[in-house]
């Protein structure tokens, strides 16, 4: 089997269509499971009371914001370097879902900050760098929207996305590098997590749900982008431009 066959937008289109339900349906089931464990099984936190339950959406959303940004920059870079159209379209498709998750993490963070810190917002290193992440997404989306020629828009977007990657490690390590109001990481790769099993389970299930949801949303949007560009191209071809 030649996998490169699927690197062309036209042949990837039906494949993407077949893949979507395999991500969308498990995403819905896992959202429900995560919510159930998070609210019906996980106990009340002894320090933060029930306010901590915001973690089950806040942390997965924040992770998705960062991960999707890196993925977007990766696809934009590949699309630019190898002139791969499908890869650039993937980057454009990821941007909106990534921006949405970043916005969710900022809003839920404010809603968590008010009762626990007494303030909606502070210009703390982690929050400021996350706000910059949202601006990078918005910049990428509006830059692409402002350029008519799709391939030029892809290249311009790739430069912006790749430069902005530097912000992701800044967000991730901000709670270690600077003395911030934001609490430290709850889960680290090499250490034991600082929360109970049921809380961790709810958090990881919600993260999986957000991942699956993102893949489904990105594939649906990718199909729209493929069709839109194809229609534009055929229109140009018809008039002989």
């Amino acid at each position: 089997m030649n996998i490169y066959k699927y690197a062309s937008p036209a042949s990837f289109y039906p494949v993407a269509g077949k893949l979507i339900p395999w991500f969308a349906i498990p995403a819905a089931l896992l959202f429900a499971t995560g919510f159930f464990i998070g609210f019906f099984i996980a106990p009340t936190d002894f320090q933060q009371g029930d306010a901590y339950r915001i973690i089950f959406i806040h942390v997965p959303a924040a992770w998705m914001g960062m991960l999707l940004y890196m993925l977007m920059a990766f696809y934009a870079g590949i699309g630019w370097a190898f002139n791969a159209r499908l890869s650039s379209m993937m980057a454009s498709s990821i941007a909106i879902t990534g921006a949405m998750f970043t916005a969710i993490s900022l809003i839920t963070g404010a809603l968590w900050g008010k009762p626990t810190w007494g303030t909606w917002w502070v210009w703390d290193a982690r929050m400021t760098s996350t706000l910059i992440l949202l601006f990078l997404y918005i910049g990428f989306i509006s830059l692409q929207a402002a350029i008519d020629d799709p391939r030029r828009a892809d290249r311009a977007g790739a430069v912006l996305a790749l430069v902005g990657v530097i912000n992701v490690p800044i967000i991730y390590f901000s709670v270690q590098w600077w003395n911030t109001l934001h609490q430290g990481a709850t889960i680290r790769l090499l250490q034991k997590p600082t929360i109970r099993g049921s809380m961790l389970a709810a958090l990881l299930i919600m993260l999986a749900a957000c991942w699956l949801y993102s893949v489904a949303a990105v594939l649906i949007r990718l199909r729209c982008i493929i069709l839109e560009r194809e229609q534009n191209a055929s229109r140009f071809a018809e008039v002989g431009v």
């Binding site: 919510f35 099984i41 915001i54 968590w112 949303a217 649906i220 729209c224």
Partner: protein
């Protein structure tokens, strides 16, 4: 299993507010994706019959 205290120990506004905002964001994305897809299929159907010749005609008029 235990039923959650709906007032969330006084944090109800913040906890439910967070989930409501997230739900609204996701529903917004799903709805806007559906509309985008719908607009495309409608465009595709109409371009087969009407819009393509119209476009060709209008360009010819301006260039000739």
């Amino acid at each position: 299993m235990n039923w959650p205290d709906l007032s969330m120990g006084g944090y109800g506004f913040y906890v439910w507010g967070s989930y409501l905002v997230s739900l609204i964001a996701i529903v917004w994305e799903v709805v806007s994706l559906r509309q985008r897809k719908k607009a495309l299929t409608q465009q595709q159907q109409s371009s087969k019959s009407v819009s393509a010749p119209v476009l060709r005609g209008s360009i010819n008029e301006t260039t000739s």
